[in-house]
């Protein structure tokens, strides 16, 4: 809970800033609803008929992967670790550039013309692996996304200067607006609103950074950071504060995310051809560094501001909104909040659609067997998006977040990222891989992070979980998953050489 005495301190003006927000919201909803008439079948709804070109792909990918939750988490990293906290961004930038240049895994995936990764696995490992992959993708994805609404609500209630009781109302309002156009227009609405949201988000973020540089200047902020945190704020390897294990996990996670995170890979699958898909990745790669560096800079500026004026919040995750509410002038605050709201809405809409596409395409495949009419398929997809929205609202209200937000996102993401990345690489480049290896990889990839999350929540095992730490447990998940893939495939080949091709 943030400090109630701080609540009233905000420069938000209902007339000026509120007016900017209403214009932005009305424009977005209108654009999202207008394109729904172009949706004729499930392919249009889930992958926009595979007609996405480079610049729309960049806008959509960038807007989707930058939400309020990303901004708060990365600002928290900057607030706590300085520029050393941007290590995940450096790893993501490098991974995306390498994958975009080489077409590693994404080329065979896009060439196959599938809607989801599990669908790709079926041709190599059979229906069971497709179904199990879909299950862990949905489980990991929904747990990961579960905290988005709460963080978005936290951010908005603080910058609006509302009391704590308004959090739930704020969460519900965000969700209802996003659900309205996502349910009706699917991927087409998501793309068009992503484009608008990218522009508003960029405007808000760039103007805020420039305003800070103009008003305070670069040198006082950096001098304060250097005084408060010393060398470790600039060097992630210095005295182990950030930690080598955390850097190793950042690298594993970066490659796994680029290759298999459903909202990212959907842009490759929706691209008009493989070359366009690769170009979208190459061109968006620097944005994944921007996505860390600019919020980290805001977090570092918050550290400077609180050192000068006091009033730092109890929880570091709330440093960014608390700082913005009091330091950004009226009018500019409206543009910034519109930008943050844009970031949040584009993320929520894409994520809701991404997980519903996996539920429909993979988990429900044994039921519909691709025999449902387009009309029925569209209706079911829309119901699934609505159900995911309800889940998010309920989960977001009761899950108590412990530790770094970024760590929670990494651990829950690992539930599927470790196994899916290992299986994808094996499916593309290892002839001896088979379904036993894939099932083993899925089992261990999901079990290790889920066990860690449970140990972290249960009081009697909290100390044990703390001793291991989130980074080592997640690294372990990647290593064990790769070993399980190799061992399972080898075991099946040894026992029954005739059936080892599946």
């Amino acid at each position: 809970m943030h400090n109630p005495s701080f609540i009233t301190l905000t420069n938000f003006s209902p007339l000026l800033d509120g007016g900017i927000l209403i214009i932005y919201l009305a424009g977005t909803i209108l654009a999202g609803l207008m394109v729904r008439r172009y949706v004729k079948n499930v392919d249009d709804y889930l992958v926009a008929g595979r007609k996405v070109d480079v610049y729309l792909g960049i806008a959509s990918l960038a807007a989707t992967e930058f939400g309020i939750v990303t901004c708060m988490a990365n600002a928290e990293l900057g607030y706590k670790y300085g520029f050393a906290g941007t290590s995940p961004g450096v790893a993501l930038f490098a991974a995306m550039l390498i994958v975009g240049w080489t077409g590693f895994c994404i080329k065979p995936l896009r060439d196959k013309g599938v809607i989801t990764i599990p669908e790709f696995f079926e041709s190599r490992f059979g229906k069971e692996v497709r179904w199990a992959s879909g299950l862990v993708i949905v489980l990991g994805g929904l747990l990961n996304m579960g905290v988005f609404l709460r963080m978005g609500g936290d951010f908005l209630t603080i910058v609006f200067g509302l009391p704590d009781g308004y959090l739930e109302i704020m969460m519900t309002a965000i969700l209802l607006i996003v659900a309205l156009y996502t349910i009706l227009g699917g991927m087409l609405s998501v793309l068009v609103t992503d484009y608008l949201q990218f522009i508003v988000l960029s405007l808000g973020l760039l103007l805020t950074c420039m305003l800070i540089l103009w008003q305070i200047g670069w040198e006082p902020i950096i001098a304060n950071l250097s005084e408060a945190q010393g060398e470790r704020a600039f060097n992630p390897f210095h005295d182990g504060t950030y930690g080598t294990d955390r850097i190793i996990l950042d690298i594993f996670l970066a490659f796994a995310t680029i290759l298999t995170w459903q909202t990212m890979i959907t842009r490759i699958l929706a691209a008009k051809d493989t070359k366009t898909g690769q170009k979208i990745y190459r061109s968006t790669a620097p944005f994944f560094l921007v996505r860390f560096i600019l919020p980290a800079f805001l977090g570092i500026t918050a550290l400077y501001y609180f050192a000068q004026h006091g009033g730092a919040p109890d929880r570091e995750i709330l440093a960014l909104p608390t700082f913005l509410a009091v330091a950004i002038p009226t009018g500019m605050l409206g543009i910034l909040i519109a930008g943050m709201l844009a970031a949040d809405m584009s993320t929520n809409s894409s994520y809701m659609l991404a997980w519903s596409s996996v539920i429909y395409n993979d988990l429900l495949a044994p039921i519909h067997k691709n025999k449902w009419s387009e009309k029925k398929g569209l209706r079911i997809n829309r119901i699934l998006v609505a159900l995911i929205g309800i889940f998010l609202l309920i989960y977001g209200l009761w899950y108590p977040l412990k530790g770094d937000l970024w760590v929670y996102l990494q651990v829950t993401g690992t539930i599927y990222l470790s196994s899916m990345s290992v299986i994808l690489i094996a499916a593309c480049y290892w002839n001896k891989a088979n379904n036993w290896g894939a099932i083993g990889a899925i089992f261990f990839g999901a079990t290790i992070p889920i066990t860690y999350l449970i140990l972290q929540q249960v009081e009697s095992t909290q100390a044990f979980a703390e001793n291991i730490g989130p980074y080592k447990s997640a690294i372990l998940a990647y290593i064990v998953t790769a070993l399980a893939m190799v061992a399972g495939s080898w075991l099946k080949t040894s026992i029954n050489p005739q059936k080892s091709t599946l």
Partner: protein, 41 residues
Amino acid sequence: MILIWSIIFFAMLIWYCFVSIQVGVRGYSNIKDMLDDLKNS
């Protein structure tokens, strides 16, 4: 290290300004082409 981070930060800020304008202009024509294609398909 401070100098390196200063260069990275300002390079990224300039890149972001440039790309935002480019995406803003060319993304719009991408949307028009996509909707035309869908209309005619």
